[in-house]
Symmetry: C2
Subunit: 393 residues, 2 copies
């Protein structure tokens, strides 16, 4: 057994629960900060821990190119390499190479693409995307999929969905055959909760009641990805046939690719209906603070997005009173905190005027503090959502 998921409270379609991974417990619904290149840009790992980050996301495409899977593997995987003892999820690289546009070519076998760093040629198949993710050693890894472009007609969307289904089966086959190669066992990772291979591995965490890991030592978990574009019938078919292949968790992919926001919501809601209630449901690549709260209400358990961290680096800050562009001159004399309702260390210590000065002066500290606040705001948003669900609101 590699993960265990328990839904503990419902409120309408929303659910609050816990996901136990080899690297700690995650309270769901959860927002996962993006740590593209083995770093959540500008934030030291100990501050991420203080913020209460329980799981973060790494990008296989970026890590495969730099520092390379073999380097990460020799450190016991990403946990050891980036000194992050808590849970990690890696994407499959499918969405990243999809974003390369002109630099890629898709065949039945896989995707040939050029590195954005040096133009060198590379090839990802379901098998070697799995191999890469096993080497990176995240707790949760993703099947290699094709992210259908938007817009796409029904014929194209169906063909793309079928390809993703064939790749999902190949991903699972390779993963099941190779998952023992996870690099944790040879390199101890701080705070890992994973019992030794072959050891009597009863596992309990105080906060979770009576969690007991099953037989077998901890390995990674492979999630399937539902595609099907904006076509609700294809989404249903994709969900059903992905479930047939069988995964311990399911993601909704292929959204936030340019479609209107109301369409995203419609597809998410329709797809969720067809996903098992006892498995974690992961909506990839969304969204604003309002959206992540809304998707949690629809029954999504996991989300990730570059928005809080990327926006922070551009001076766009999320607050309880709406979005703020800290670069604006109107903040230059403002002695008030960024968000009077926020308890993060940025809002507790610094003024808007100071944050504006740092941004206007192109100071690195602007990126550090802005990112810290936005992440804190996202994590607090999800904390409130979980609390509301448990209260039945």
């Amino acid at each position: 057994m590699s993960i265990e998921f328990k839904v503990e409270a419902h409120s309408g379609a929303a659910r609050a629960g816990r996901l136990l991974t080899p690297h700690g417990e995650i309270e769901t619904p959860v927002f996962m900060p993006v740590g593209t290149a083995a770093t959540v840009k500008a934030v030291p790992q100990d501050i991420l821990e203080e913020l209460g980050v329980q799981i973060l996301l790494g990008n296989t495409y970026h890590l495969y190119l730099r520092p390379g899977v073999e380097t990460v593997r020799t450190f016991g995987g990403l946990h050891g390499f980036m000194a992050w003892p808590r849970a990690i999820l890696t994407d499959s690289g499918g969405f990243q190479v999809f974003s390369l546009n002109d630099l890629r070519k898709v065949t039945e076998e896989g995707v040939t693409f050029r590195s954005h760093l040096d133009g060198s040629l590379h090839f990802f198949s379901p098998e070697n995307a799995m191999a890469a993710q096993i080497g990176l050693g995240a707790d949760i890894v993703m099947a290699f999929d094709e992210c259908t472009e938007y817009p796409a007609d029904r014929t194209r969307t169906q063909a793309s969905m079928e390809l993703t289904l064939r790749w999902a089966a190949r991903s699972k086959k390779y993963f099941e055959e190779q998952k023992e190669q996870v690099p944790w066992k040879e390199y101890p990772v701080p705070s890992t909760q994973c019992p030794e291979k072959g050891a009597a591995n009863t596992h309990e965490t105080a906060s979770a009641g009576n969690w007991v890991l099953g037989t077998g030592y901890c390995t990674q978990s492979l999630f399937g990805i539902v595609q099907g574009g904006m076509d609700l019938a294809l989404r249903k078919e994709s969900a059903e046939r992905t479930i047939e292949i069988g995964f311990p968790g399911y993601a909704i992919g292929g959204l936030s690719v340019g479609e209107p926001r109301e369409r995203t919501r419609e597809v998410v809601e329709a797809t969720l209906e067809h996903l098992p209630k006892d498995k974690p449901r992961y909506l990839m690549g969304v969204g604003t603070p309002e959206e992540i709260a809304e998707y949690a209400r629809l029954g999504v358990d996991m989300m990730d997005c570059v928005l809080p961290t990327r926006a922070a680096r551009h001076g766009l800050l999320f607050t309880s009173e709406g979005k703020i562009s800290i670069k604006q001159a109107r903040h230059a004399q403002d002695a008030g905190p960024l968000d009077p309702n926020c308890l993060c260390r940025v809002c507790q210590r610094y003024s808007r005027a100071y944050l504006r000065h740092l941004y206007a002066s192109n100071e690195v500290l602007a990126q550090v503090l802005n990112t810290l606040h936005n992440l804190s705001f996202y994590l607090d948003t999800m904390r409130r959502v979980r609390h509301s669900i448990r209260l039945g609101e």
Copy 2:
């Protein structure tokens, strides 16, 4: 009384002591990190506190240009603006405009210079450099001086020294007349140890024994600066005539301007002989870890330098085993800490391989972690020096 200095131990020419300022106590000899634009680049203020930074340096030239003195003043000075409750020293702007080269013109009255930001014309005289520093509200401010270029012949060096002496007298006159304008009194600053104006102001700090501030409320302190180029006789004359003007502390300026390192040491040693033993002695703009330890041994009490922070941003890291260029490929697989003898949070958590990856990937976290380590190394160096002096070693 605005500062109080107590020498508590000697070892040869070296001395260990305490400097009490309106914003806390400083153990000397002390290294002051440079926070040019109201930020020690890449490091949040709470981490500076954790590192044990007791005083940092701000650059008047940069702060005058951006965000401007009036903005800082309305926040109760730099302490309020940058949310830094401990001591601050500002330079006078003299050295910074000296560094502008083609963009400046020196007359008896002062220096006309062009902003490096937008080319706009500005003028610093002793009077308005003092006005700027009073508005910025550092605990210790510096007389406006001319930093003599290197090399310079005796005639030029003497003329420059005479100008600095006239400017020192003008700086002191303006400061004494205007020092009540310090912006602290209207804007409470966190953790200030400064009693209210007119209040009974007995002040004690546990660690310092029986410190008692004198009558009168806290103001800033103005330090004089000794010039005289590389000419030891002129250095002696500059020291004696600066002491005649009278300041609560004395700096040695005009060094690290291109002269050989052994010359710097020679001038420092010769100048120190002529400075009062009961006043803090500040050597401006030095140096490497070995140099700051050496200058402390010669009897210097305060030093500042951009080296640890600037070198960090270029991947040059100081360790107990020498200087390391973290960008080198030989660190790419190195699982060891940056410095096995360092207890900083970087060395305790991350590998050289990870730091090398961050640097090679141009990640902001590289700047954060590298700066954190280098500052920690400098502060630890001075801690060891103070300890050695107190042990009489």
